[in-house]
Symmetry: D2
DNA sequence: TTTT
DNA sequence: TTTT
């Protein structure tokens, strides 16, 4: 038995971060992955894949990524069913992410403004903003994106960030 | 953009082979993949993942595999939506398989009957039964399983079998 | 950054289980994966992929699988280099397995002997032999294979088996 | 039998494009993938994974990506051996890529210079530079990178680009 | 109900 | 022989 999924695509909207009654963070998000071929009408379609991630990486996702962000997802397919509001059984399929990789912030290139001397080849770890530890009880931090505009990809696996 | 899925699990029922109006074969099947952990009640759950495969491999799947067969699937996640019979939009997620690998026939071990001298180490290609070319217009060949009882796995990628 | 590998193939020899100075189990093994196509001479080649697995799953692998066993591997590619015995730097690439799935014992079908009434459709968990807890200080248990002849696959992920 | 690899990482140097005697393009490249954890010394290591890609995508890779570019790779592991110059057999493992996805050009952000009105939300297909059809007999086009600075990722699967 |  |  083996169940492995890898995706690279863009968030269709900001991640939806919530907490269970017992205080565990869980974020739902949808990744749009453009198909590598065109349909008969000649245009490119996309698949919109529902994903969920738990605990620390869920908070990191909500704090650092937003609608349009390009992400890499490593996880597995999960199916479950529940009773819909109309009394009918609803079946759903989603990807449970083990880790999400930040490949490009929504606004990279857009906000870049002549920072000439910067690309001097030196490598600057981009974790200074990890100082301002995100409040786990606060859902989405709207201005967080602006503090790391894809200078370096961030891996938000569970053990990765120091908060 | 990247979208890759690999599954190993068992068919929950016989593959459902059909043909489009233009004569293209398409098979739908569901793979049950046991989760590698137990839930709070201490029992193992499974994910039931809908899959679809096209053309030659679809026919091969229907001819060689059946309910309970263990398969490997290599493909991608696809989402689509259509109008349900109750007028509501139905969203569905399925795996489009590029190839399906036959890992174990439903009845392996069950039908095996003391073929003692056989395991002599020699490797015998198990494709002799590909001679009896399956009829593509015939859906499921119930006794097909008995002609290849998992002595060697069969790969049913598109270019693989000579029919 | 993403690095994911999934393999299904056969062990080319018995797993090589060792222990580090600090007592951590590590098993090396090679998986032969037949290519899904033929070369110009018309014959099927295989890739021989070196793998390594650590801790409990390493012991499980050594205890339950042997030359010829079909396995599923989920892991990542790792490269490293060291000084060869001739003083030259040796570069090597191997797969570090997170989990290995037992898909078929070496001798399934071979040893099966008329257990006619068995295939009654019922699902019997095949973990009774996990009682006889393998001795971690003992490397390869040659007769272990005979106690589980692929009636059901065994997943040997870390948290999976109760020993 | 299943053999699937997915990588996201950076090119350690410009792709090395060559042509076989029969005129088939083949590019070799190495992808550095940072490990998602630190070693005992507390620093992050990387795996340097040798890859090869054939035909059109090989030319696209050489024309659009260079040292430092972030790429996504979908492929399989291949092993082969040959006689080294010292007469000893050399074994090598590499990833044969089916497709490579351009996730970030080497110089994105660096060269971005206040193009204020541009990020106006409109989607501009970034294939205008595909007009200047690359010469297949010319290896690396050093200034090609500057014509597509990661405004949009480019997929360089075989059937993807119109040249 | 979708991203770019 | 390595990227950022």
């Amino acid at each position: 038995m083996l169940n492995r999924v890898v995706l690279v695509g863009r968030l269709t909207k900001d991640p939806d971060l919530r907490y269970t009654a017992s205080g565990i963070a869980v974020a739902n998000f949808t990744v749009a992955v453009n198909r590598p071929f065109s349909n008969q009408q000649g245009d490119r379609e996309a698949d919109f894949i529902n994903c969920v991630i738990w605990r620390k990486p869920a908070e990191n996702l909500a704090n650092y990524m937003s609608k349009g962000s390009m992400v890499g997802v490593d996880g597995r397919i999960q199916t479950r069913s529940f009773d819909g509001q109309d009394g009918k059984r609803v079946f759903m399929t989603e990807v449970v992410a083990d880790s999400v990789q930040f490949l490009e912030s929504k606004n990279s290139n857009r906000q870049a403004s002549g920072n000439g001397g910067q690309g001097s080849g030196g490598y600057q770890p981009q974790n200074q903003n990890q100082q301002e530890a995100p409040n786990p009880n606060q859902a989405n931090n709207p201005q967080s994106g602006s503090s790391n505009d894809n200078l370096e990809p961030i891996d938000i696996s569970d053990d990765d960030l120091p908060f």
